[in-house]
């Protein structure tokens, strides 16, 4: 479904992504791991078009998307959540998601119809599946950090993506919130048939839900494989797991 072929990205003299390779098949849960500064977030930014790659190809469903702006890539079926909470703090929870749903339905440019009757069902179904329905009218900025991270994922769901990219979905969460989020991610893949690509620092989470793992260091792909393969790989043990 997604193929990242030897992609490079540098900031001034710093090579953030240095020939990374990644492939994601439909229906998989794939994790990208690596030490801080390994280039995981930059890689996600390249895939979603938030940054433009210097070299290499990014292919989604057989189409080269490496030159497209992020809003076009979103319309191709890739949605993402962000590492740092990135919501619409002044809007209420319902409208946070509704904006994404309306964008997905190509209705963002309707001028003279009231929006509050639009996409109500779709939005509420997302709110229900992530468990935020009872907080639909809260102003998003007033939610707890854990709920904001959930909302973060819920906004991405509004775009009905085929591939959902989650950048550290449980960062800063309490243990209870973390396990609830993991359950949520598992449920989403089953219910909505989502393909998920995520990165995460917590190895327990990674090994409990990822079907395949890609390890990055210094912007390079060290290995791509099943959790067992990754666990038993010497280079990974030395570079990363051993150091934990």
């Amino acid at each position: 479904m997604l193929e990242v072929e030897s992609v490079f990205k540098s900031f001034d003299d710093f090579l953030a992504v240095n020939g990374a390779n990644l492939s994601v098949e439909k229906g998989e849960i794939v994790a990208v791991i690596g030490p801080n500064g390994a280039g995981k977030t930059t890689l996600f930014n390249l895939i979603t078009g938030a940054l433009r790659r210097d070299k290499g190809r990014i292919i989604f469903k057989g189409e080269d998307i490496s030159e497209l702006p992020s809003y076009e890539i979103c319309k191709k079926g890739i949605a993402r959540s962000f590492q740092v909470v990135n919501i619409f703090p002044r809007l209420n929870v319902f409208r946070n998601i509704q904006v994404a749903v309306l964008s997905q339905q190509r209705r963002s440019n309707r001028l003279f119809r009231p929006a509050h009757h639009m996409a109500v069902e779709e939005t509420n179904s997302i709110l229900e599946s992530v468990g935020l329905l009872d907080k639909a009218h809260r102003i998003a900025g007033s939610l707890s950090h854990g709920d904001q991270k959930i909302l973060e994922i819920a906004i991405a769901l509004g775009n009905e993506p085929e591939l959902l990219i989650l950048d550290e979905p449980t960062a800063g969460m309490s243990p209870e919130e973390t396990s609830a989020t993991i359950e949520l991610i598992k449920r989403l893949t089953q219910m909505r048939g989502l393909t998920i690509l995520f990165c995460e620092h917590d190895m327990e989470i990674v090994f409990s839900i990822a079907q395949r793992i890609m390890v990055m260091r210094y912007g390079q792909t060290i290995i791509q494989g099943s959790p067992e393969e990754v666990r038993s790989n010497k280079e990974v043990q030395e570079a990363y797991l051993g150091g934990e």
């Binding site: 938030a50 509704q98 309306l102 964008s103 309707r110 001028l111 003279f112 119809r113 991405a156």
Partner: protein, 320 residues
Amino acid sequence: MYREIIHSKWFRFSAGLFFILLILPLFLPRFYVYILALIYVTSLLAMSLNLVVGHGGLFQFHHGVFYGVAAYTIALMLKKTSLPMWTGFIAGPIFAAIIGLIIGWFCVRLTRLYFGMLQISLGSLIWVIVFRWYNFTGGDDGLPGIPMPPILSPLKNSYYFILIIFVICLILMYMILKSPFGNTLQAIRDNPQRCEAIGINVRRHQLIAIVIAAFFAGVAGVLFVVLERSVFTELLFWVLSLEIFIMCLLGGWFTFAGPILGAAMIVALRTFVGIFTEYWTLILGVVLILLIFFLPEGVMGFFQEKFKPQTKEMVHRGDL
């Protein structure tokens, strides 16, 4: 579709207010009728600015240009061409929207302060053209004595004309703000990066918003000519743009009707304090300083905050 709005307290209040404004000219002396009409025109201008500043988060620093361009368009058409008069009324806002499209097309490519600075330069360019082109625009003399359709000649009639167009524009702007377009615009204000990520073409959306705002500023420009029967280069000068910016700040960025309050305050200050001293801006300055420290959300924002339980209820009803 707007049934719940019609039944709301808020609607009844507005309808009552509208009725009062309709009968006011029957009692008030001419001068106050004129001031009221001037407040409507200025309010419309300030609200059109707030569409992109308060609700769109854009650094629209030179909004006055669109107002002035429309005023000059209708003035020149009525004075120098023999086209039917109504064409001038239509051409004003449309030409303002076209200028909005051109200036906006360049500006949306930049962000925040750079956006604002570029807009000031492009706007000032238009001001210089109007200022220097004596034999066409009258330069700094302006264009006095613009002919009007006879039906608009009595002040009372032009008052009603301005009031009705003003209310129509208010309704249209309200609808736009409550539409998917308006909601998306507010989402862009809050978080443009996230909007790109959920598939919104942020620049195009902002550009459309600027064109819409320029159009409404153009309507205000036309109404100004209806009221004043003359145009002058101050209409395009950046000082005016700053003034309407302050009106939005005074009234409250994030409210719908705030700019009306801001415009009314400034027009009243200039008129009634201006009689006693030409340094009325000194009082404005003090008011502004107090405001920024004590009511950062503007006067209207302050009242909305104060009566929160009611407004919250309205949000509830408005959203589902």
